[in-house]
């Protein structure tokens, strides 16, 4: 695996994790739970 490809995998994992959790927090707030 190339260095750039490896970094892209980690980059994508961070992007998905951060954006996913942010959406989750907003949904929890909107649901009022």
């Amino acid at each position: 695996m190339s260095t750039e490809r490896g970094a892209k995998i980690v980059f994508t994992a961070y992007a998905v994790m951060v954006s996913g959790l942010l959406v989750y927090f907003i949904v929890l707030g909107l649901l009022g739970v």
Binding site: M1, T3, V10, Y14, L22, F25, I26, L28, G32
Partner: protein, 224 residues
């Protein structure tokens, strides 16, 4: 796999630490909430109910927004502000966005430059500010998440105490919202200022956040 782990050790290591401490925060936050609920004569909530609650969301989001604000401002401020003698700063002679030659964009790009740095126009302009824009965007989204989860958590507490609830607009002007925001911001700004000035006179051998141990106190932009 070994090469992948070594090449990405910093981001993978901190990502793992993030997940472990997030789980720890869930347990500690749940215990803290239950302690307060029981003291007020209320019912305790289970761990899962806490993790899918606004109480958990607002506690996490309020810290996220301040961290992304910190890095957004740091990325932006270090373009224009310098700290002579700090490895966190560039030399005073390079204040500003620098020349295309310095930044290797457009005609000055190399064959290894990213494509959007080579092509010029709006794509190079956008790519040139992409780090700051993403940090700013994540700050804005985290702060929005804090406000939306915050008003929900706040109103839940108000209902338990038989008090009036507030709208989102009222909440973002409330003491609770600004106390949560400012208590995080002040610590981030102190940490940045401390790092900028401490790294002038103190060293951490082998860290790129520090100058080489033997570097002069007045040398700027030299990593060890």
């Amino acid at each position: 796999m070994r090469k992948f782990l070594r090449d990405n050790g910093l981001s993978l290591g901190f990502g793992l630490l993030f997940l472990l401490t997030l789980v720890g925060q869930a347990f500690a936050g749940n215990a803290d909430l239950n302690h307060r609920r029981l003291a007020d004569g209320g019912d305790p909530v289970g761990l899962w109910d806490f993790v899918v609650s606004s109480d958990f969301a607002v506690d996490v989001a309020e810290n996220w927004q301040s961290e992304y604000l910190q890095f957004f401002l740091y990325v932006l401020a270090t373009v224009w502000l310098v700290q002579r003698g700090s490895p966190e700063s560039k030399p005073a002679g390079r204040i500003g966005t620098e020349s295309d030659q310095d930044q290797k964009v457009g005609a000055h790009s190399t064959e290894n430059s990213p494509r959007w740095a080579r092509v010029g126009g709006w794509r190079t302009g956008l790519f040139s500010t992409s780090l700051g824009l993403v940090m700013a965007g994540l700050f804005a989204l985290s702060w929005l998440a804090q406000s939306i989860a915050g008003v929900s958590a706040y109103n839940n507490e108000q209902l338990i105490d038989f008090q009036d609830t507030v709208t989102w607009g009222q909440y973002v002007l409330s003491a609770d919202f600004w106390n949560r925001s400012l208590q995080n911001w002040q610590s981030e700004f102190l940490a940045i200022g401390s790092m900028a000035i401490f790294s002038v006179f103190l060293r951490q051998r082998g860290s790129p956040e520090s100058k080489p141990v033997g570097a002069s106190h007045t040398v700027t932009d030299e990593s060890g």
